[in-house]
């Protein structure tokens, strides 16, 4: 396979991988500078770059955004099994709610020769294969939310110590207003964006995008393939 072909076939994945890495590096530089400004303001010594990117300060800022993004996709994937939005290309068409028949899902006896091997299996392997996307998105959400809570606790206790406040346990931190403020400010924006995408895509179009209906499709048409 030529390199040109590899790049063309994987453009979407590669561009987002590159954007992620660039913006993460950007965040690390901006976060380092911001952290040092605050340290100096408190009369503390500034931190080196490597010390900063391996600190809980950097980890909590990365993790709180990760958890909300993976929660967003977890909830959206789960919700779109059971709920529909008439007119939205993000939705199945009304009447198609639910997990679908084995025939529609190409599993068990209906699997094709080139189906994933576990689509042909039974029991736990078929269940894992059938729910793998939700399981992985949910797993990354839970672990990054855990990371946010652990790193956030360290940062809150460092901050508290400089003001003579006794350290919080992990349970005290996850019940604290700071933890929920960091958490919910991210969740609200994710849910707004998903709701906007689902609703706006009923009436608005982007010619050529897989996230849009074709420009001339009527507003009430939900799925171009099925109606």
């Amino acid at each position: 396979m030529s390199m040109r072909r590899v790049l063309r076939d994987n453009g979407l994945g590669l561009v987002f991988l590159a954007l992620f890495l660039l913006t993460l590096v950007g965040q690390s530089f901006a976060g380092h500078a911001d952290n040092n400004e605050q340290l100096v303001r408190h009369g503390d010594a500034p931190l080196g770059y490597v010390d900063y990117v391996t600190s809980s300060s950097f980890a909590v800022d990365v993790a709180e955004n990760w958890q909300s993004e993976f929660l967003q996709f977890f909830v959206f994937i789960l919700a779109t099994v059971w709920l529909v939005q008439r007119g939205s290309p993000e939705s199945k068409k009304p009447g198609d709610e639910g997990r679908g028949s084995d025939e529609q899902q190409l599993v068990g006896a209906h699997a094709r020769a080139d189906s994933p091997a576990w689509a042909r299996a039974n029991g736990i392997r078929l269940w894992l294969c059938s729910n793998s996307l939700l399981l992985v998105m949910g797993g990354v959400f839970v672990l990054s939310w855990l990371a946010q809570s652990l790193a956030g606790q360290v940062v809150a206790n460092e901050e508290g110590a400089s003001h003579g406040v006794p350290p919080q346990t992990w349970l005290e931190y996850v019940a604290s207003p700071e933890f929920w403020n960091r958490t919910l400010q991210n969740w609200q924006s994710e849910f707004l964006a998903v709701g906007a995408m689902v609703t706006f895509s009923i009436f608005l179009r982007q010619r050529g995008s897989s996230e849009s209906k074709p420009v001339g499709t009527p507003h009430a048409t939900t799925s171009v393939d099925s109606e």
């Binding site: 396979m1 076939d9 991988l17 980890a59 990365v62 190409l106 990354v140 990371a147 652990l150 790193a151």
Partner: protein, 41 residues
């Protein structure tokens, strides 16, 4: 049942590379973000 993707004859080679690169980044990132605060960093 014919689906829109039936015309593809792509081998999954190459697709798997991107999957594992991203998976590795996420696993390493999560491991670090959990381990560093536990180590008191």
């Amino acid at each position: 049942m014919e689906t829109e993707n039936d015309h593809t004859d792509e081998s999954p080679r190459g697709l798997g590379t991107l999957f594992w690169v991203l998976t590795s980044i996420i696993v390493v990132g999560l491991a670090l973000m959990i381990a560093l605060p536990l180590a008191g960093r």
